[in-house]
């Protein structure tokens, strides 16, 4: 008799745990069930992301770089699964290489974005790049894997935690990514992945007062985009709009805060 295989139950990834949607709802992609994140799941994920941010940002930049590199390693070992969940081997290559590119950034960000400032007085004055906090990401629908990682990797590299909404198209890729994240020594809550149609959940995320920035790389229709920006305005939440697969220092710069410190010089 043939052995009956063990079928994986797809779950949301919140606070370092794999959980079902509190709503109990699922949706199907190519015959597989995926959890359909509810508004409550979004709020739970933001709540988990706040301590996740504290843990992640407290690590040294060197350490964060190594964790991101480990994420690339964990993705590499899942190449076959990833290929099936996206546009193919070339997209998998680009996605993993993107993570490696950002893994080299954490300990260089302040060197490139910060400054020592020559003020007209006896003061030490410097500007450093610090993480923003919790970043909400409405992931691009396409390309599913590369889009997810192109938006998530810079957010993490800059020291932020993330709540990612992966729509129906990127749900299979998000599931594999969650397993890689869970085995990368990333602190619980630093990255949270929710699957399901983003129409309603994106609004909850945009209006949430405990997110610091909102990434809208996704090519949503203009009306929807305008509504999400309006909702984000309620908390003076920073809104980032870039290409789905951009790889740049400008992307990192969009997810940091600049802090300037003064101290007198005197003998």
């Amino acid at each position: 008799m043939n052995r009956l295989g063990v079928v994986k139950t797809n779950k949301l990834f919140i606070g370092g745990s794999f959980v079902r949607s509190e709503s109990g709802r699922t949706f199907a992609v190519a015959g597989d069930h995926y959890p359909l994140a509810s508004r409550k799941d979004v709020r739970d994920a933001v709540r988990a992301a706040r301590p996740g941010y504290a843990r992640w940002s407290a690590m040294t930049a060197y350490n964060r770089g190594q964790v991101l590199y480990r994420l690339a390693e964990m993705l590499e070992t899942r190449r076959d699964e990833l290929r099936a969940a996206c546009g193919g081997a070339a997209e998998v290559d680009r996605s993993i290489d993107r993570v490696v590119w950002y893994a080299g950034w954490p300990d260089k960000l302040t060197q490139v974005l910060g400054t020592s400032n020559s003020v007209a007085g006896p003061y030490l004055n410097y500007t450093t790049a610090e993480p923003m906090g919790v970043v909400g990401i409405v992931a691009p629908a396409n390309p599913p894997l590369e889009g997810l990682l192109s938006r998530l990797a810079p957010v993490l590299a800059a020291g932020n935690s993330a709540v990612v909404l992966a729509g129906e198209a990127s749900a299979p890729a998000a599931m594999v990514l969650a397993e890689a994240l869970a085995t990368s020594d990333l602190p619980p809550g630093a990255a949270n992945l929710l699957t399901g149609p983003v129409g309603e959940t994106a609004k909850v995320l945009a209006a949430h007062l405990d997110i610091d920035a909102l990434d809208l790389a996704t090519a949503a229709d203009p009306d929807e985009l305008a509504e999400l920006e309006r909702l984000a305005a309620g908390g003076i939440t920073r809104v980032v709009r870039q290409d789905a697969t951009e790889q740049s220092l400008a992307t990192l710069a969009a997810f940091v805060e600049l802090k300037t410190v003064w101290h007198p010089r005197a003998i």
């Binding site: 400032n117 007085g121 906090g133 305008a226 309006r230 300037t260």
Partner: protein, 483 residues
Amino acid sequence: MATGGAAGWEYAPAPEARDVVRIRPRYELWIDGAWSAPEAGDYFPTLDPSSEQELALVACAGRADIDRAVGAARAAFQRGWASDHGRRASYLFRIARILQTRAREFAVLESIDAGKPIRESRDVDVPLAAAHFFYYAGWADKLEYAFPYGAPAPHGVAAQIIPWNFPLLMLAWKIAPALAAGNTVVLKPAETTPLTALLFCEVAREAGLPNGVVNILTGGGDTGAELVRHPDIDKVAFTGSTEVGRDIARAVAGTGTHLTLELGGKAANIVFDDAALDQAVEGIINGIYFNQGHVCCAGSRLLVQESIEERLIAKLTERMRRLRVGDPLDKNTDVGAINSRAQLERITDYVRYGIEDGAEIFQPECALPAHGYFHAPTMFTGVSPSDRIAREEIFGPVLAVLSFRTAEEAIAMANNTRYGLSAGVWTEKGSRALAVAQALRAGVIWINTFNKFDPSSPFGGYRESGFGREGGRQGLEPYLQLT
């Protein structure tokens, strides 16, 4: 008349001469390098807040005027303002020099129109405004060295709205980087403090600035609301309240207009038990009573370690008795006039909330002038973190004192706000100062000093204090597209 509370601290009046400025009875709009009457024919008065006397009538810009100003700015941009970097630098250097030459005139006019002490407008506002133009003049032909992540190009036409607390300085913070980056601007000064911006138009003319590069539209909130909604604006920069900033963010949502906001604050000024107390006292006084507390980064929440609270409060009350409140043009004055009747009412409301919430009030005995808008320096002790005076921006000379035991508690209290513009730390222990500075969620941290500003030093907020930086290399970024 300036009065000192304690015996032996009386000063004879030392008023700065007013005759250095000539205020016209009526001001028009500055559009395309010329004075231009508002099409609807509306004017509003601007007052001297220290006497409530009307100073002049000022044009109120409406939709048609905004159209003309934005059109002039667009045309100036298209005539190649952005292309000749060296020339742009030259104009900005000239403006800096003219501001320095006419510094006395600007300082007196600022104190008359805004109510701020002449000592501050003379020593802080005007020199810093000139320094900002000088600093950004140098960037205009060096933009390609500023950013490692893209080739710089200006946005186009910038709409800029500034507040009434530092009228000329905020104009400089807005116009200097915008022009250095190659944009042209339409700037709206605050309703209660338009005069130095209007005098600046003369500086622009004297510097030979091409027509349309800088347009100044006076008006109230409606003018500003109309301006940021104009379809031909590429970039909006606003400094003011979080409430209005939110409205502007909603207004430009989905339009692709670039936006930076510098909004309110409720800064914590944290004093540890090992702080140099006399220096801290000066920093606390400067932090909250500088410019009558009309400062978005004012140190309005004093967090003091329990073990030194009594000693610090004793020193503070003694120091407050030495503050001279009165005529803004008197060179001895420390605390001038509150900017407007509306602001004075807001401050007195908050003082009432403080008393109602059970905090203990201290105000030095000082004779306030019979006319004009004045408020005594005020300190509340025994404040709870949940009290309104500890949570909301008052924008006046009102200090809320809270106490803490551990550094962790101080950091948690300091960060327990929707704002994040600035904070202060007072300690003689270097490692603690740096650790606390890192843990504070605010854009500017002053260690063993407070309320220091410099054109080379980026300034701006975290969270609901807004986004974007002004000052420094980083202050160019909001006015550039990097491709």
